[in-house]
Symmetry: C2
Subunit: 464 residues, 2 copies
Amino acid sequence: MHQRLVVVGGGAAGMSAASAARRLDPDLDIVVLEAGGYAAYGMCGLPYYLSGVVAGAEALLAYPPSFFREQRRVDLRLHTPVTRLDPDHQVVHFRENGRDARLEYHRLIVTTGATPVVPPLRGLDDPYVFTVRTMEDAISLRSLIDAGHIGRALIVGGGYIGLEMAEAMAARGVKVTLAEALPALMPNLDPPISELVEEEVRRHGVDLRLGISLEQVRRTPDGLKAILGGKSVPVDVVVVAVGVRAGATIAAEAGAATGPGGALLVDDQMRTSLPDVYAAGDCIAPFHRVLGRPAFVPLGPAANKTGRVAGTVAAGGQARFTGIVGTAVVKVFDLAVARTGLTLGEAMAEGLPAVATDTVGKSRAKYYPGSDPVHVRLVHETGGRLLGAQMVGGDGVAKRIDVVAVALQAGFDVDELAGADLSYAPPYAPVYEPILLAAQAAQAKSAPDRPAEAPSHAAAGSRR
Amino acid sequence: MHQRLVVVGGGAAGMSAASAARRLDPDLDIVVLEAGGYAAYGMCGLPYYLSGVVAGAEALLAYPPSFFREQRRVDLRLHTPVTRLDPDHQVVHFRENGRDARLEYHRLIVTTGATPVVPPLRGLDDPYVFTVRTMEDAISLRSLIDAGHIGRALIVGGGYIGLEMAEAMAARGVKVTLAEALPALMPNLDPPISELVEEEVRRHGVDLRLGISLEQVRRTPDGLKAILGGKSVPVDVVVVAVGVRAGATIAAEAGAATGPGGALLVDDQMRTSLPDVYAAGDCIAPFHRVLGRPAFVPLGPAANKTGRVAGTVAAGGQARFTGIVGTAVVKVFDLAVARTGLTLGEAMAEGLPAVATDTVGKSRAKYYPGSDPVHVRLVHETGGRLLGAQMVGGDGVAKRIDVVAVALQAGFDVDELAGADLSYAPPYAPVYEPILLAAQAAQAKSAPDRPAEAPSHAAAGSRR
């Protein structure tokens, strides 16, 4: 009998793991148990499916199940929720076709993802109250919109998903109210940056309620009512997007060590504390290179990478995941909003001697048409060590944040960032690229003992 | 008497130097001697002024002369070509208002830029034969186009400037022939990449002649004729863009040490070999971090940065320029074409054990509208050390090359690049960002002894 690898979860991490394992070992018996009806879909595409930017849900599939079954010879089983893990006997228990089933494994990879937090409020079991984490959620919600049943939506939560949902709904002509319990949108950004996002959201007609909590949802003869800050607001649908928690229950109940956010702790080869059990994706807390310890930051790129590492190692190969730096970007109407590393708030919570430097650069040469402002906040230690960045601007922002992400990975200080040899041509950047302008300003702020050097657009460029 | 700093050249480097010196020392006597009639203009903007994308030439000025004279208290003198440098007596000789003049200096900064190479061919002194390096060149050429005198142009040289000029002329309805003596466009790219550029240039109607040299230009009663590969081609204007050489003559004649391309050698504080003489910009060969030695790569960003360092140090401050990695981007019609580090050809010429890995990624999630191919060529040592990258694609390419530029600055290998925590959201990138896809393919190629791991789009993303 061949060795058997069981992967629990058929999302990004799980299917990356299964594929990596197959590439390494053509003989391995690979079984994927997926609780839902879809595998390997682009969860981050759900808002764009809702908005109609993506026409059909099937477009979100990286590959159809038949591809995994036939090309990759992976025994992908849908609608097979795992109920228990028995690491002592190396057995996984699950439901299949309405019956209890079990499988022995030699190696197991847990990729059970994250699950939306639903606050314990009255009325959230109404069928018109949604979370949007699965393909099934999105298909149901979109069919209601397509049928013309949704005129007014309440989005609860002003994080990435809440904002993407607000944009998607607005694009469908739905009147959107967005309620965030905290006094600012995007609590994972510092206020000067989140305020730019607030302006953008309001500018697009969203009724933004900050510092307001949802108290309950009531189904009345006149329809659905959301009670927001003591007031009753009539709505057709409520989308709850107040965050996620690690879906680590099965592995944790079996004794796997957990860390921040209840997520599974793993080493750099994705081994959990249980023998022959690996984990990857949104259910783990990978090493955060700037914090220097594990952190729960469930995002797609790390899910794919850690899945690949887990699959490679579980199949007997060599691979390592050296950590995240906390890079993320979200489209909010006409803005790209990006971050990497730590915010000033996060750095101060760590007790670091942090300061922030805010600058506004241009996306192109000032004389070139379409030159937009690029807001850059650099967070750094007073001694110069780079800790993070936040950026708001047009499309170019998404890849500009990556420049700082690599600088963080390399452990740069602001001097090294200011010395970066970044590309320049008038249609794509000013000669003083916004990142360099920000780094120069940060240099002045991080070395109060050296002669002041304010940033400057001094002279525009010479280029062969 | 105050200390006097004389800056020779009022381009990007010179005005950056003067501005940095003024920020550091409010009392310094700062004189800038500029041979031409303009200072601090965006030389890289000239093609966009010619094409009409930029309406007026004055838009290319970073600041008008009055700004430097009044706000920065810099004695900026135009039309004052320097004729001789006497480092023993710390005197600079120049022409002013038709007379010989001289100035003593305490510190001097040479920012004499680069000058276009004009091959020693018959007929290149015709007034309809241009180089486009100065504002004066561009104003003359544009006035001819505006007046309707230019129906057919011959561009000689298929590098950055030649291609930008071809695009600018085509945008004005001029029929363009582009002749390149070498068998490929853009000799500073490897053939698989330069071939993509060739297709794009032909697709836009440019009559591209590769491996064809200009032999002479003849003024005839029927107008201008260019002799190209033995054949006479009627043209209205010829633009020569076959490269530049360092304009280091004045300093070299005074005994300053020169290196690659005849450019001035400087230390990391921009000191030349002459006492109290600094240099910056296109006339120097700064340290190239990947080559590990000075290189002549005259481009705008380094001109600005080295000017700033020279001005700061010459005024008594502390600053260092830690080197270039050879990053450049150019717009060629609808393509952005970018490079950083070394090409495979350059790496092999260095005797490095180099290989190239070519991949084609997508600029956005595959299901998101407007997802374009991004061609990535990574050049790396067989052991994994990253040496360079070339990219061709849409607008996002310009900032994507910067990710690799920072990775080169940090001395990454392909494993470290593959582990980069790059941003992901469907409108801005696929979850397997093209750079990561390329790095994964390069991993497989750089470690033939480890189990093969082909790159994969395996599963699309999960993201909170």
